[in-house]
Amino acid sequence: MFLIVASLAVFSVAALFAVLPAHRPVWCVRAGIFGACVGAAAGLLAAVQGLFGGSIESMRIPWSIPGGELHLGMDPLSAFFLLPITGLGLLGAVYGAGYQRGGDAKKLGVGWFHYNVLLASMVTVVTARNAILFLIAWEVMALSSFFLVTHEHDKPQVRAAGWIYLVATHLGTAFLLALFVILGEKAGSYEFSAFAKAGASLSPGLAVAAFAFTLIGFGTKAGFLPLHVWLPEAHPAAPSHVSALMSGVMIKTGIYGLIRLLACLGAPPAWWGWCLLAVGLLSGVMGVLLALSQRDIKRLLAYCSVENIGVISLGLGVGYLGLSRGSTTMAALGFAGALLHVLNHAIFKGLLFLGAGSVLHGTGTGDMDLLGGLYKRMPWTGTTFLIGAASICGLPPLNGFVSEFLIYFGAFSGVVSTSSAAVVSGLVVITGLALIGGIASATFAKAFGGIFLGEPRSDQALHAHEANGLMRWPMVALAACCVLIGFLAPLAVRAVLPAVGMIVPVSSDALDAGIAPAMEPLGWITAGCAAFAALVALLALLRLRLLSGRTVGETGTWDCGYARPTARMQYTASSFGQPLMAVFAGLLGTGGTGTAPRGIFPAKASHTSETPDPFRSRFYDPLFLRTLGLLALFRGAQHGRVQMYVLYVALTLIAFLIFSLG
């Protein structure tokens, strides 16, 4: 616990230093960055200790807030979520130092204040054991990330994005508030341990409501479809190291909350699992399709987070179905896959957002149709981005494959069982993951190919420059993690098991026996990956050997006899994705504007295509417009005269008085 408290203290001090009114604001910024690094490193140590030390610790300090207590605790589940928060927090701070080098120090200081506050609040969220403390940390997390999103508040689209985020996160919190009131009323206390006792004895109606509120409240933060609309707006608007932190770890606090609170609601019935499978399938498939349709790299990555949250939800669904069926194997595999994917997604999504930041930094644009050929100009960013892209598609021998393999494995163990329900759930997961994987490959071939390969499509891309050293190393470290977890799959799964043990209520021996069917295959996968790597090396040597001493020429790309191909004739990222989007046109509603070429000698023609979020344009926008119209009726009461407001307060109080007396 000492390390957690120390890291919280360092974050707080660093936050204050960052905004200190000093003569040399640059030093304040440096203090803010340094503090974020030190605090995150302390938190990282605490996480490693909590995960492998095996002890469950807690710290309680009385607090004057009714029902509240400063109760922090550490168990393997908290430690597991703390790992990506502090790890990516540390790397993000280093990257941010390079990314914002030479900016306006005063404005940056405010940014680093919020960065430290965000880290501190996330650490508190995953260690809080009291609902009031949890909610306060949750709110601080939402607000500090809101201020980070609106860092460049001079741009109107950034302000709009921040506004959407603020509304969405508070709607989600409202559901959490209702959930905590339900549980708190029943338990008579706002301690999570009391919730766990009370949750099992809820009446059936309330239990359904509690599950729905948990799913909606935490699902809004996690980005479950259709509650995801804030995500593609807010994440691209933030500075890239903040996008990495938000998309990589902040949305995972939603998953943490979901797991923590569902554990308080008693033995999981099968329909929880089915619900999560449905949510996961919808989020996964729609998320990846919308990712494929984007032109802006950061929007693409944000939608891809929705997809990965869907994959995590599929894993959780398999896990809860396994629990309800009493199959420890299915439960252990589902939860281990989901949790490992939480960590993996933090690693590769963090890496890809940092890479996208380097592209923005080096070219000034994130529009993939204007980029191209950056690999030769930015080899470090390009190589690490390629590793991240291959990992996120779940390709072996990288880390994304390991977590998806576990979820698949859980699904297949359902398919070969005799229970029809288990077979059907397995089929849903297999079909979903296969489809998601295929489309994700297309999406990231488009992203990497469009940005880094071919010839530059614009002047910005032609004059791109490589990321500086401070930005480079965090990307290299994350790429190394992708490779390491991929090759050390059995060890990674062993590291996740203590956290899985917090969700699956069996002894650690039973849990080991449950996961055992997957351990030998994981060893084989490591062997297969090693064989693959060795073969690649051998074949590469063979190729070099064959070509040595022969003529190896260089020329332009063969364009079927066309003499003067230009960069504009290349397939753009948008045209690359179009055929696959056309298959799913009914779901996406892609629209285009422009003038088609007409006549024998056509004049200028143009075409712009755009895929607005179907949920936003077809559901939320009409809904909020209607609500706005309804609320306009009350506008007459809002006139800015203070004495009238005092009258409203007095009238309300009198009404309450009469109500309570009568």
Binding site: I430, G449, E520, G528, L580
Partner: protein, 303 residues
């Protein structure tokens, strides 16, 4: 007995290019030509391996890595493929996932190598490749899942040796549907008619051929050999479902499986000679059809 996995693996390595020859010979027969020798693919490989290379100035190492990574993937996949009732070199629960995802890696790198040239033609081919494979992958995995359900195991090396005539008598209609779905996947993944046309030199209609337009020399030899081996691997799985003959003698089983693969190659030749390539817009429907066939097989199995 333990030698069979190694012998079968070597058999795959040696006789995979033969399948290309059988397909071409069948097509020539239908067209009334004498056609290339059956062993033409071997001569082509030999010739290509002795050539130099020319690279586009636009390309990076990604272009050069494409064929190497692709061949490495398909070699590991071949080591996972059981043949003629014997297990594969490597077999474990969930190996079918590694197999499917290794083909995914191969495709990813082929596509990136194509995009690396900056050519509009290759971009077009790559774009179609990812479109079709995104639909073929669910069909492939669902088909394998159906076989897994029938045999009660999800390791290729247990599933395929366990299949026999009794499975066909009990779950015949379902297995037939699975075989039909996997045949479509087999044609699509190996870039054959009706999805792709390996012979045409009109770039606008090609998919796989156009993606490798810029490769030459040893690189192209790797691609050609990788394609032949992929045909072998997917063909071995398909014929393993269609003709699970178990005599009890490993040699005879292997010989029958080998003959079945040659017959499958001839069948591909018949398909290619007797029908035209589908319009590109129609191909997704065919692949979705394959997904539905696999799904239907499950409905039969679960009823």
């Amino acid at each position: 007995m333990t030698l069979f996995p190694i012998i079968n693996f070597l058999l795959a390595l040696v006789s995979a290019p033969l399948l290309l020859g059988v397909i071409n010979k069948t097509k020539a027969l239908f067209a009334g030509r004498r056609g290339q020798p059956v062993l033409q693919a071997y001569s082509d490989l030999w010739k290509l391996l002795h050539k130099g290379a020319v690279y586009s100035r636009t390309t990076t190492w990604v272009f050069r890595a494409g064929p190497v990574v692709g061949l490495a993937c398909v070699l590991v996949a071949a080591a996972l493929t059981p043949f003629g009732g014997a297990p594969a070199l490597m077999g474990f629960s969930g190996d079918l996932l590694l197999l499917v995802y290794l083909f995914g890696v191969m495709r990813f790198f082929t596509v990136l190598a194509a995009l690396d040239t900056g050519s509009a033609f290759e971009g077009m081919g790559a774009s179609r490749e990812v479109q079709f494979s995104a639909l073929a992958e669910p069909a492939f995995l669902l088909g394998l899942a159906a076989v897994a359900h029938v045999t009660g195991s999800f390791s290729l090396s247990t599933m395929f040796p366990a299949l026999d005539a009794t499975d066909w008598s009990q779950a015949g209609p379902a297995l037939l549907l699975v075989a039909a779905a996997l045949f479509i996947v087999f044609l699509a993944e190996n870039s054959r008619i009706p999805v792709d046309d390996p012979d045409t030199h009109l770039e606008l209609t090609m998919i796989h051929e156009v993606m490798v337009l810029d490769h030459g020399g040893p690189d192209f030899a790797f691609i050609l050999y990788g394609a032949a081996l992929k045909l072998w691997v997917l063909g071995a799985l398909l014929s393993g479902i269609l003709l699970p003959v178990r005599t009890g003698f490993g040699v005879i089983d292997s010989a029958i499986a080998w003959a079945a693969l040659v017959a499958l190659a001839a069948a591909v030749g018949v398909v290619e000679s007797s029908m035209a390539r589908l319009r590109l817009l129609r191909v997704p429907r065919l692949l979705v059809g394959a997904v539905l066939l696999s799904g239907l097989a499950f409905v039969l199995l679960l009823r």
